[in-house]
């Protein structure tokens, strides 16, 4: 087995018993990226030199018996909307093509403090707005499972980098499914943590009340470990919560006896592909045979989630993206006066989808429409949140498909509404602020990965990880028996 095919946890163990050096690991990934990425385009910026330097420093620390953490020397890839000091951070936009942050995002500081070399910055839909990574201003990322298909989005580069063995694990961000949907399309594990568990400081804002950074990896234990590294309060993000972070490794117990699994019929209605449906139901059956109790729950407001999400997300985006005015950083296009300069800069710097969402959000917030659209959506959000809270008095985890279909082809979703519908099962956890995890649960007749989504109540990541770990163990046993 090649080094680049190893999971992050395997690499950590190999480093710990001196079977390999961090430099050898990083070199293996750089070689892999050089060989594959011209086709796959998972990365926007490859930081080979910095990563090798960090690896050498890590090897020296290990030699002296002073590693910074257990994960010292294990490399990672990072979505290009997280600020990296002195490394270009484009957010997939022409607006920030030349932007070099003078500081690190809190999550970047944390992985650096753990001694992890950063391999590069991954491709994404511009400003994280999209579900296929086709909206990147720079490149189209191809799904490593089938290069004719999209990797999903907006963290398409981060999911593809892991699935295509160009990084052992990665960080993505998720506003309405942007970690879980690409994880599902590429056949890897992705987790959107509870809102407030991970600091957003230094994350380029899209919709601040919904955005959350989270881990992507090959296996559930990798995702648990990476979450451990990034979770916790940060005074620089006033929406980060002061809760004590549990030991997530301790939840990796393959025991679901007594666990109550909720199935909501609203997540299995029309529009859901039959092969996806049966793979997800098989996963539920596996867990039920292992001792979990399956309970019907009702989440009727799921039918209104997409509309609620797109009104709230675009309203917040229109306010957040007002900062791109060509004054302090980013692109500037000249104009006769300041207002003309703003308008020209924004016309040229933003792509079609970003402008569409700014327009929609500005409209929803404008005088005369605020109550009918924005406030109404916020009220429905309250009801969606309550509906989840009610469901979680009956069950520990709700299981749904991650996406209605497997990965689609390039240019297949021409209509914006049609593209928005690919987030139909993933937006509700963001609206309710609860955590959601996607993991592989089979393939369709074209060998494309199918993802199952698990949702739990606020700060119940341990329940999600335990359920996912148990399912993964069952799946692996099946694999080995075949």
């Amino acid at each position: 087995m090649e080094l680049f095919q190893r999971t992050a946890t395997e690499l950590q163990k190999m480093l710990a018993c001196s079977q390999v050096t961090s430099e050898q690991i990083v070199q293996a990934f750089i070689n892999r990226i050089e060989a594959e990425d011209s086709q796959m385009r998972a990365y926007l910026t490859i930081t080979a030199k910095e990563a090798l330097g960090a690896a050498q420093a890590s090897d020296l620390r290990r030699k002296q018996g002073q590693p910074l953490s257990k994960w010292d020397g294990v490399p990672i890839a990072v979505k290009d909307n997280m600020s990296t000091k002195n490394v270009r951070t484009t957010c997939g936009s022409k607006m920030l093509e030349e932007y070099i942050p003078p500081y690190d995002a809190t999550v970047i500081g944390r992985i650096k403090n753990a001694g992890m070399p950063i391999l590069g910055k991954t491709n994404m839909d511009e400003f994280a707005m999209g579900s296929s990574t086709e909206n990147s201003a720079f490149a189209k990322t191809h799904n490593p499972v089938n290069l004719q298909k999209v990797p999903g989005g907006s963290s398409g580069g981060s999911a593809a980098a892991v699935a295509g063995f160009e990084a052992p694990w990665s960080l993505g961000s998720d506003t309405g499914g942007s970690i879980r949907q690409p994880a599902s399309f590429c056949g890897v594990v992705g987790l959107k943590p509870t809102y407030g568990l991970v600091s957003r400081y230094g994350l380029v804002a899209y919709a601040s009340s919904l955005d959350q950074i989270g881990p992507i990896g090959h296996r559930v234990q990798d995702v648990a470990a990476l979450l451990q590294l990034i979770a916790g309060h940060d005074y620089k993000d006033s929406t980060s919560v002061t809760v004590s972070v549990p030991d997530y490794q301790a939840s990796l117990v393959a025991d679901v006896s007594g666990l109550r699994i909720g199935i909501a019929k609203e997540f299995f209605s029309e529009g859901l592909n039959n092969q996806v449906k049966s793979a997800v139901m098989r996963a539920v059956q596996n867990l039920s045979q292992a001792g979990a109790e399956v309970v019907d729950v009702s989440l009727p407001l799921t039918d209104y989630a997409i509309e609620t999400y797109y009104l709230i997300a675009t309203a917040e985006a229109s306010a957040n993206l007002a900062r791109y005015d060509g004054v302090r950083y980013g692109l500037r296009v000249a104009g006769d006066d300041s207002v003309a300069m703003f308008k020209h800069t924004r016309a040229e710097g933003f792509g079609t989808e970003v402008k569409r969402r700014i327009m929609l959000g500005t409209y929803a917030l404008s005088a005369g429409y605020y109550d009918a659209y924005y406030k109404k959506a916020q009220q429905v959000r309250t009801l969606i949140r309550r509906e989840f809270e009610q469901a979680f008095t009956q069950v520990d985890v709700i299981i749904t498909p991650t996406t209605p279909t497997t990965a689609f082809g390039f240019g297949e979703k021409k209509d914006p509404l049609e593209m928005y519908l690919s987030d139909i099962y993933t937006v509700t956890p963001n609206l309710a602020g609860v955590p959601g995890l996607s993991m592989p649960c089979g393939v369709d007749s074209n060998n494309l990965p199918i993802g199952v989504q698990m949702i739990a109540t606020h700060f119940s990541e341990p329940v999600l990880l335990r359920t996912a770990f148990a399912l993964e163990q069952i799946q692996r046993k099946g694999e080995f028996n075949e």
């Binding site: 003078p102 509870t194 809102y195 006033s238 929406t239 009104l311 916020q378 914006p416 609860v434």
Partner: protein, 95 residues
């Protein structure tokens, strides 16, 4: 239905210069999306508090302490036009 003038009004609020083609396109898109959003009218939200944040947080305070901040050169480094330690912008007042 949103008409073209309304699209132009919103574009001006958002400080976006749109081409004629874009104006037509966004008029069509906005109408389609807002028509779908009208579905929310079916939900009874009488007397329901709006949710701005899913986690209830109020008055987040921190200690009033000074700490190191970025140097002026770092702050100005990404500016498109810099003069004498300032960001330079087009004239905003008449002479």
């Amino acid at each position: 239905m949103i008409n073209k003038n309304e699209v132009k009004r919103v574009a001006n609020l958002a400080r976006l210069r749109l081409s004629e083609e874009e104006t037509t396109q966004y008029q069509q898109d906005l109408n389609q999306i807002l028509q779908a959003a009208d579905k929310l009218k079916l939900v009874d939200t009488e007397g329901i508090e709006p949710t701005a944040h899913a986690i209830p947080l109020r008055n987040v305070l921190r200690l009033d302490m000074t700490s190191e901040s970025l140097g002026i050169d770092q702050v100005l480094k990404n500016g498109p036009e810099i003069t004498k330690g300032y960001f330079r912008v087009p004239r905003i007042m008449e002479e």
